[in-house]
């Protein structure tokens, strides 16, 4: 104990209210903006409501209906496809670009980094509208490009090919690749800069080739960052909303092929007005995300134990 503290009157030092007084700003905010809404959300998910004046307790009916709702499962499956696309296409691509940027022979590294990162500075709404135009049927850039390019080798490309009708998830994944691959690349680039050079040099001395060095030195070194990026991508993907909402003009696309969990929540809560059901969807999403986080933590803990 310092001399200053020792000199304080014993009564004020031992006041039982003092810690609570200091904690109170946080506790009040946490209670008002987190705990109370959570309790209300639990209550709301067990009700059918039309404003505060008209509520009916329906017990677990919203959850029962949710599990029987084919559209909810469709939203889950669409979201899962998008998430898998994000993880298995976007993240390896981001890592590959980060490795490319780390290449000592690369010229114009700063310029390339800016180019790759810049799409993530663009708003989702803008990107969604732009990709909507690119994938347009007759006048869209992609169809025109394929028509012109393939036409050179004598293959007729149907200008009316409906990318956003038949390959909805592909369209969303491509748009999100453009937006987020550069963003994730920066995490990997930062992680790659922290790979210990002495280990790499030791591996070279031991005769390890580039692939072996990558798997045995680089990957273990960047694993904590990769785990974080995967977790963030999973959470971000499960919260997908604006991209399909704008790309498909406030709808879930043809035959609900762009319906995601959050979009379904929005439709029920704010278009149909069924707030109880929407809250039940929200809880289902929370459970999924908590599950993903726990799996990731278990995997990370297992790897730490193995190391």
């Amino acid at each position: 104990m310092s001399a200053k503290a020792a000199a304080m009157p014993a009564s004020s030092a031992r006041s039982p209210l003092a810690p609570w007084l200091f904690l109170s700003p946080f506790l009040i905010c946490f209670g008002v903006f987190t705990v109370y809404p959570l309790i209300q959300a639990v209550l709301l998910s067990t009700q059918t409501t039309f404003g505060p004046g008209a509520t009916r307790f329906v017990g677990a009916n919203n959850f029962i209906a949710l599990f029987r709702d084919p559209l909810f499962w469709k939203a889950c499956s669409n979201t899962l496809v998008y998430t898998l696309g994000s993880i298995f296409i976007q993240l390896p691509l981001a890592l590959g670009l980060a490795l490319l940027l780390e290449s000592p022979n690369l010229r114009g590294r700063s310029w390339l980094r800016l180019v790759l990162f810049s799409p993530s500075m663009v708003g989702v709404v803008f990107a969604a509208m732009m990709f909507g135009l690119i994938f347009e049927k007759r006048t869209g850039l992609l169809n025109q490009l394929l028509h012109g390019t393939l036409g050179i080798v004598g293959i007729e490309w149907d200008l009316d090919f409906g990318w956003l009708q038949q390959h909805v998830m592909l369209g969303l994944i491509v748009a999100s690749l453009w937006m987020y691959v550069g963003f994730n690349m920066t995490f990997f680039a930062a992680a790659l800069q922290n790979v210990r050079k002495d280990l790499v040099e030791a591996a070279i001395v031991d005769g390890a080739g580039p692939v072996s060095r990558f798997w045995n030195v680089t990957v273990p070194a960047i694993r904590p960052v990769a785990g974080f990026v995967v977790l963030m991508s999973v959470i971000g993907s499960f919260q997908l909303f604006e991209l399909p909402y704008i790309m498909f003009s406030s709808s879930a696309g043809p035959d609900n092929r762009a319906l995601t969990i959050v979009l379904y929540l929005f439709q029920n809560g704010f278009e149909v007005g069924d707030l109880g059901y929407a809250t039940a969807i929200g809880w289902a999403l929370a459970v999924i995300l908590v599950g993903c986080t726990m799996v990731q933590r278990l995997l990370a803990r297992g790897e730490e134990a193995a190391a």
Partner: protein, 550 residues
């Protein structure tokens, strides 16, 4: 305590305030000052919300004139429709004030009808409309989107009849006489001549009709024209009706297969406008408000377009439909005394029902007033240069009484989306399996619609308010015939052969229609509304029942 490696404080700041904290604190103070000093636009008088810029521009002069001579002063505000819907619903659900007058679109307002009838946030205007004779003075179908459980909650702004706009230069050059076209079959036969393959790639480069499986608005208007839709007059769900299956199957024969006549030229998009200007599609659906949009967005087609009534689904059938709709309502929180209500009601009538407004509405928006006494105005006989000097106002007015009635259910959009999903699946199944036969398509459509019906029914079943007896007890019956929808046979839509209930629909003839009016014992009669059955007392529990589709 400052860290040892913190930047040196040169004595300009107190010892306890680091430079970083000083910057953050300064920014905070500046932000608070900016917010506090920012000019606020306090509303004077009564606030009216509108959602469409063209409407705002139309009302400006009217509101200004009102404010110079009348009270209360009206403060007109333009708010985007989604924002308006959120604010309005938040205010209604929370019981707090919003605007004093709300002009809102059909789909956005229907959510306010989802709860108990007494919880609807707008004043019930039914009795006033009756007392002042406005139920008869205004085109009857224009009330239907604002009528919930027999009560009217808004003053109608429009009629929005739909015609078919076509490229007269192309059609007349091909020698097609549109006056001989009565049905969609006639249209398909006549206009398919215009489908040419200019670049010899085996595919037409021009199609007769702008229609695609993703055009939900077009689908909805075609269903309404045929007498189908999502709810009947008793608010029973009819998603899986035979008429709907017929319409879906017919649309797929238009958009897929060897006899395809339709293509996708999206509305309200630059890409779609270019396709229309290039003549990729010859005919498009034209509600009265659409002409003004084309004039501004596709001026190159001025003098090349003409309008014709929609081809009917069968000879003698309805030659129009309806697309869009707006109402003006008075929120309950806006008027706490009868005098306050009277002030707002007076302005609402002045704005919507006057002869001056009729002229502004037509001249600036191409929109036909729902006030029948103004229909005789020579204004509507003026030639419209964009449409090859046709008197478009008169053409729309001639069709206005035949506009189909619509339902105000809060589940309309949901039902629409599910039916649209069914159409997409049907079209894709047809293309995948190369099955374009009408009968096979209709069978498949029935199955898809049945699934869609079940999904919507499940959703509706979760709303305990609409089906509850106390939810509708305050609803009193309308005067018989006040604006009760006519029976299907009278409306000119398709009629189901309801006697069997086995989906044995056929397009039929006029005789068929008469024969198909349900007998009291038939399933269709059991589904029909008390008004249809001639009952003057409505069964409040009949509202929004699930099931009962064909």
């Amino acid at each position: 305590m400052p860290r040892a490696d913190a930047p040196a404080n040169d004595g300009l700041l107190p010892a306890w305030l680091s430079p970083g904290a000083a910057v953050i604190a300064s920014l905070g103070v500046l932000a608070c000052l900016a917010l506090a000093l920012a000019p606020t636009t306090a509303s004077e008088g009564r606030v009216m919300w509108t959602f469409a810029r063209p409407h705002y521009l139309m009302y400006e002069s009217r509101v200004e004139a009102w404010n110079q001579t009348q009270t209360p002063r009206i403060d007109l505000k333009l708010i985007s429709l989604p924002a308006m819907e959120r604010r309005m619903m938040s205010a209604f659900l929370g019981g707090v004030p919003s605007a004093d007058l709300i002009e809102i679109e059909r789909r956005a307002v229907s959510r306010s009808f989802a709860g108990p009838i007494e919880s609807v946030g707008f004043y019930d205007l039914t009795d006033r409309l009756k007392q002042e004779g406005l139920l008869d003075a205004i085109n009857a179908p224009s009330f239907s989107p604002w009528t919930s459980r027999g009560r009217v909650f808004g003053l109608p702004h429009d009629v929005h009849p739909v015609m078919l706009g076509y490229r007269a230069d192309l059609v007349e050059a091909a020698g097609i006489d549109v006056s001989k076209i009565e049905t969609w079959d006639d249209f398909a036969r006549a206009f398919s001549k215009l489908q040419v393959d200019a670049n010899n790639d085996g595919e037409p480069d021009r199609f007769a009709l702008n229609m695609w499986e993703t055009h939900n608005d077009h689908l909805e208007l075609l269903l309404a024209q045929a007498g189908g839709g999502f709810f009947d007059e008793s608010n029973r769900l009819t998603v899986d009706s035979d008429i709907n299956a017929h319409v879906l199957a017919t649309i797929v024969t238009w958009i897929a297969g060897p006899n395809r006549i339709a293509a996708d030229a999206p509305n309200f998009s630059a890409a779609g406008n270019r396709l229309k200007a290039d003549g990729f599609v010859v005919a498009s659906f034209f509600p009265d408000w659409m002409g003004d949009i084309w004039k501004h967005e596709i001026p190159s087609l001025s003098g090349k377009m003409k309008l014709m009534p929609l081809p009917a689904w069968q000879k003698g059938g309805r030659r129009t439909s309806v697309w869009g709709g707006t109402m003006l309502g008075i929120p309950k929180t806006a008027a706490k005394t009868p005098e306050q209500f009277e002030e707002l009601w007076k302005f609402a009538k002045e704005l919507y029902l006057s002869q001056e407004f009729t002229e502004i509405l037509y001249r600036q928006g191409g929109i036909v007033t729902p006030v029948k006494k103004h229909w005789s105005s020579p204004l509507f006989d003026e030639p419209n240069a964009y449409f090859s000097s046709q008197p478009t106002g008169r053409l729309y007015i001639n069709l206005a009484p035949d506009v189909p009635h619509r339902n105000s259910s809060p589940y309309n959009t949901l039902a629409m989306n599910r039916v649209a999903d069914a159409l997409v699946r049907l079209a894709e199944d047809a293309r995948r399996d190369k099955v374009y036969d009408y009968a096979a398509l209709k069978d498949r459509a029935r199955a898809l619609l049945k699934k869609a019906h079940a999904q919507v029914a499940d959703q509706i079943a979760r709303n305990v308010f609409i089906a509850e007896p106390d939810a509708a007890v305050t609803a009193t019956p309308l005067q018989p015939g006040a604006f009760a929808p006519p029976r299907p046979a009278e409306r000119g839509g398709l009629v189901e052969r309801s006697e069997t209930g086995e989906g044995s629909w056929s397009p039929g003839t006029q005789d068929d229609q008469v024969a198909a009016v349900p007998s009291p014992a038939s399933p269709a009669a059991k589904r029909s509304s008390p008004r249809q059955r001639g009952d003057e007392s409505r069964d409040p529990q009949s509202d929004m029942k699930v099931g009962g589709g064909a």
